[in-house]
Symmetry: C2
Subunit: 432 residues, 2 copies
């Protein structure tokens, strides 16, 4: 008689339904992988009477989470209810009652991940969350498994579909930010309140999760320097393109020795970099490891089936671990103390667009200022504007420290010839 492993499902919306469908339709394949049958025993819902277009037994449904976390037959709890505080409470309760947890909730993992992972560790439980970052890409597993025999030095991710869609349309079709945002909302690619996406917060949560795993260091959302895409203009995109770059909202986590930096910002990526051709609503995560070198994983970031598929992969992993007796061993508890880079340790190239008076000597005084601040320039473009009364000057620096760059940016505002620093972006991913 084959063993049965019972699952409790918290939430029965789009993703929850997808999980139930996959588990039911792939019974044989799951049994082959795990060596046991898998059954969704109970499902937490808000409304027992709601019509769901999928067959469930009335006794499978409950409105009380206690029915699930105190059911001794249930081995694993899958959290797909969404939201933050209630989801966190339910996951914590489940772990405290010795249930393994699989979640698709990036908000909870970015805010309370370290607390929940600690509870999981104390209780020798697994807590897996592949679906929380780029559902269609098995990136967390790849990072964790890669880590078993490698050391990651850099992660760059396009991890927000909404902003990537907007930037792609602005770049390729020359359209305005507001116009594309409206279209994205109409198509369902952007929320009615798009703040978390366009402001960079959603990407920040994901890069915090990626950095925490990749560097085995407890990186919080507060550690992430965040800048969104709301100030990006068509001019910036056009000049970027002319200079050989594509603008993307990139989450960056990098390490030198034991110090790390985590940030999200609109970033210029060279046309020939693999991230540059990740378009529309797609996501991609580029990982640099000492042993394996450069790798990139590309796919859909969200959607019912990609997300449910990622949840089921985690479920299979938990159940395998359970039969192996190795639950709670995953390399998810940060091993190193957090050490963040200071601005004079963060190194990058930068793009800057300046409006200056078009006078003899303007350019010389600007370059002198850059030089004084240890900043040498790689690319320079000067365009007359406003019938020659104004010069638009675009520069790309060589690799410099953030401290030097921030200082020169401030000092530029005090220069007589400078009218305004119109925009400034990081440039990353120069291929060797």
């Amino acid at each position: 008689m084959t063993q049965v492993m019972n699952i409790g499902l918290l939430g029965f919306g789009t993703v929850g339904t997808g999980v139930l469908e996959i588990v039911e339709q792939h019974q044989d394949k799951l049994a082959h992988q795990i060596g046991a049958n898998v059954k969704v025993k109970k499902i937490l819902v808000n409304d027992l009477e709601k019509e769901r277009g999928i067959h469930v037994q009335p006794e499978q449904l409950t409105t009380n989470v206690e029915d699930i976390i105190h059911d001794e037959d249930i081995d694993v709890v899958i959290e797909v209810m969404g939201g933050i505080e209630e989801a966190r409470r339910c996951m914590k309760l489940a772990l405290e009652n010795g249930k393994h947890v699989v979640t698709a909730n990036k908000d909870v993992m970015a805010l309370y991940g370290s607390e929940l992972l600690k509870t999981a560790n104390d209780k020798h439980c697994d807590l897996f969350y592949e679906a929380s970052v780029a559902g269609g890409i098995p990136i967390l597993r790849t990072i964790v498994e890669g880590l078993a025999s490698d050391r990651i030095t850099k992660i760059m991710g396009i991890v927000n579909g909404t902003t990537n869609y907007i930037l792609t349309k602005m770049t390729k079709e020359g359209r305005l930010y507001e116009d594309v945002l409206k279209e994205a909302q109409a198509l369902g690619y952007a929320e009615a309140d798009p703040t978390a996406d366009v402001g960079g917060l959603d990407a920040a949560r994901k890069i915090a999760i990626l950095g925490t795993l990749g560097f085995s260091m407890n990186l919080d959302l507060d550690d992430v320097s965040v800048e969104g895409i709301t100030e990006v203009t068509s001019q910036d995109l056009a000049y970027s393109k002319q200079l050989g770059y594509t603008m993307k909202l990139v989450g960056i986590a990098n390490r030198q020795d034991d110090k790390v930096e985590v940030s999200v910002q609109p970033t210029l990526v060279p046309h020939e970099h693999p991230l540059a051709s990740v378009d529309n609503e797609f996501n991609a995560v580029y990982v640099n490891g000492e042993a394996v070198g450069e790798t990139m994983f590309y796919g859909p970031g969200a959607g019912k089936l990609p997300t449910a598929t990622a949840v089921v992969s985690d479920l299979v992993e938990v159940l395998k671990n359970k039969r192996l007796g190795v639950n709670g061993n995953s390399a998810v508890i940060p091993q190193y103390d957090k050490q963040l880079k200071t601005p004079d340790e963060i190194r990058s190239k930068y793009f800057m667009r300046i409006h200056a008076k078009d006078l003899p000597g303007t350019f010389a005084s600007l370059t002198a200022l850059f030089l004084k601040n240890n900043i040498s320039l790689e690319k320079i473009l000067q365009v007359p504007l406003n019938e020659g009364k104004l010069a638009e000057i675009i520069i790309v620096t060589h690799e410099v420290t953030k401290a030097d760059y921030d200082r020169v940016r401030k000092e530029l505002n005090n220069e007589d010839v400078v009218i305004e620093v119109k925009s400034s972006y990081r440039a990353e991913g120069e291929m060797n």
Copy 2:
């Protein structure tokens, strides 16, 4: 007392040394993942006395494979000796003696994979070969795991680093094939005898392996239609670029319903397709699944550490399966009967470059011929050559059947106005 799992290593060259290093340096991490310790007990070598720059006990080494396959303590045999016939014999012996096998050998897997997988299945053994295709990318595992809850419809792979390096340099630097090939040989990216690479055979082996796994159908090397890059000219590359395409050597495996097609050929990929920016010696595999949609995995195709890392990942999987009691269950034995598409079922776009007499009516007679063969044209470019005595005509078709295309190509040679069909390529990967 923790259990010990013993490994036999066949071959102790670059990759074998890498495997030993990883296993020794990551003992704790491996134990955490598997729930047992891992030890390389015996190593098959040609020369017991050779200096190897790595510490081994003399009793670990043997020149006789029988010492390994009859050692009852050895659970898993890792084949990294290379070559074909002897490697196949050793793997078969190991499986027949109930050892699980991990191999990095694409030649053996492409030629004798079905025979070896059948032996593995009969003996309830695992036979894993992640390192045989694109060592730095966990693509086989991703396909197998993805299959548990998805149905793959298309695989496109840049799976040969040598040819990708050559095409990249020809495209970006406008250099000649012979010139870049020589450079690649000097840099160690191409073999002294590059035939298997530039002729497409190496890529054909890999796409046969990918197609077999992806469609769960026993695809042999003989089923792959193969064309190499030796005839690709600078003109073709220049026109491709002008029309919005990048030339890549692409292995293609696609399916409609239950019929499949497997091929390798120089292929025009739209600039905006993720494969188009996979440059130099890098590999990438693009997979389209019904549930998850489009995904792509990018990384180094070869190298000591990427390959050894892939071998160790397989090893971990085998050992986990052993402790779970689920060895031999992997979905690697083809489940479906092979059904290859006929030429009138293979659909694609095509690029053709024609030299024709520059006479009034030339173009009309050509388009009439295409039309008669059910081929409509998407892009047309006509350039006068040789002081206007000659017209170079480049066309890109809409999606047509291979049967229609091959027929029109033949008939073009009988047209009075046609001097020569200079070149012809497949075009794939139009984004929607």
